[in-house]
Symmetry: C2
Subunit: 325 residues, 2 copies
């Protein structure tokens, strides 16, 4: 059984979280960096490599002191080949062998994993889903991602890209998504959707404190602005968050009918809105899903929050090494 810590990196569209994680899932050291995705793949990869070196140095370790490196990234991956095929949040990435780049640099076992799969694994092993058999993890932030646990084990699919639940069509003739599909769930139930709807309504003349929170500039409106306004009781913001919750519930109902899960763990930035978002989502799911499946599904908030990705990526390394040895 591996017993040294792992390095783990959660490479997102806006930030890179790099950490040293114990085999018990504890974050020993963590550092946060901006991704600066617009700078392109070479730059982002250099920043990622440097972040790993810094965390290792900060923990006074060298590579003999770690089991390996876990790399969590969004977007469709080919995990068996360790390749980031494309990523909606990392412009310019096209079939980049990220795992091997990191492996060659540090010369330790390295594994690539979908970020939402990593979070699912972490929440299942150490977080809200401990002890469950059939669990889904859903992150709702800029987009929607999913991680799947079946029979107590992480399910990643044939090439490791399972869980792209955000790109499930819920409106057949809906708007075009960056993924190429139309009417994807995340076009209606993500932070991007929330900000877009707020801009649209304010452009149409709706009165709201959202604009004040965005310093009077419509272009500054983000999901955070809308959610802050909703928490302050702004009528338009409350309406938009309610609508977001309803759309979120429609996808939840689909997943409850498909997976009949024991638990759904909700994480990601927007989940921090709590019941403002989750109450309409839950109500809508209950209206739409099969009652027996709805009854069995506990819908709960993430316990590990922003650390779920690195904890899961490290846990994945430990699991894979144990499996391969």
């Amino acid at each position: 059984m591996p017993n040294k810590p792992c390095l783990a990196i959660d490479l997102g569209g806006t930030k890179i979280l790099t950490a040293l994680v114990s085999p018990q899932g504890e974050v020993v050291t963590r550092k946060l960096f901006p991704t600066d995705a617009q700078a392109g793949p070479d730059d982002v990869i250099n920043r990622a490599l440097s972040s790993l070196e810094q965390v290792l140095y900060q923990a006074s370790l060298n590579t003999t002191g770690i089991e390996g490196i876990g790399i969590a990234v969004a977007g469709p991956l080919d995990i068996s080949r360790g390749i980031v095929t494309t990523s909606p949040h990392l412009p310019g990435w096209d079939n980049i062998p990220l795992r091997d780049i990191i492996k060659q640099k540090f010369n330790v076992p390295s594994f690539l994993i979908h970020d939402a799969s990593a979070s699912a694994l972490a929440e299942h092993r150490f977080g809200a889903g401990k002890g469950t058999k059939d669990m889904l993890y859903i992150t709702i932030s800029t987009g929607i991602g999913g991680g799947i646990i079946t029979g107590g084990k992480l399910y990643v699919g044939t090439s490791g890209t399972a869980g792209e639940i955000g790109h499930m069509t819920i409106v057949t003739n809906g708007p075009q998504c960056t993924c190429g599909n139309r009417g994807c769930w995340e076009m209606f139930a993500s932070g991007t959707a929330l900000a877009r709807e707020a801009k649209k309504r304010i452009n149409e003349g709706a009165q709201s404190s959202i604009l004040k929170l965005a310093a009077g500039n419509i272009e500054n409106i983000t999901a955070k602005t809308v959610s802050d306004a909703a928490e302050d009781g702004d009528a338009l913001a409350l309406e938009l968050v309610e609508q977001l919750g309803v759309y979120f519930g429609i996808g939840l109902a689909n997943l409850i009918n498909i997976f009949n899960p024991e638990m759904i763990v909700i994480g990601g930035g927007l989940s921090k809105m709590g019941s403002l978002l989750l109450a309409p989502a839950y109500r809508t799911a209950a209206e739409r899903a099969f009652p027996i499946s709805m009854e069995k599904a506990s819908i709960v908030s993430s316990k590990l929050s922003d650390d779920a990705g690195v904890i899961g990526a490290a846990t994945y390394v430990i699991d894979r090494i144990a499996e391969l040895s």
Copy 2:
């Protein structure tokens, strides 16, 4: 390892298939009965019990000669309690403890399983999906059902009702489904949808040989009438089957994005249309799903056809007995 055959029953909305199945998945004896679902639960249950007795008698066996009985039924089930909670195709069924009714009558181990899960298990063990790890089985007939194999094992969810893929919303504000949800996939991509659209178009004045095949009576139009007309080259029928295929492909894309499966096995009455249905479905899925997941997914026809349900129900009995002993 259990080595006697099993009795198995596949209780559908229109027919009951009862069979004796060897541990190697061979159908030794089979008998087909009409369900006559309109007669209500008591009548259907009596017919099911009688069908099991008849197959046993025909095989010159008594209950000591079988391992147990597998019972495949559509609709949301609670398999741990052996209960058919409701069934869209069995009017009047409400929390019926079908497993225990059969168990008490025959006094052998008896297990309830979702019919599409049974078919998935059969196709995975003995049919088209042999040797795959991550496989979906989809039946397209009156409705749409699904069975799920993850990591080489049947996945049934927490109460055994996983795989209700036909009730995934693909049109958010779509028409009301009998399940209570709106815009379900099977409202657009099932035999029921095909017949409904044909009736509607002919009522609106469309010319087609469909009506002739239905003996001049619009009410006689079924999915079979439309599919026969399409095979004869009727323009309206071809258009409707193409449209059905497109809708079928939209749901396929969702499942390919969610599961990243190695294989999707398509069964059920409508799948017998072959490429008339599957070509537009495949094309649509390829337009909508993530390329990496689409590439990895082989979409193939069922090998065990109408016997998949009974073979799977019997296999489930063998698996459960081995697991429990």
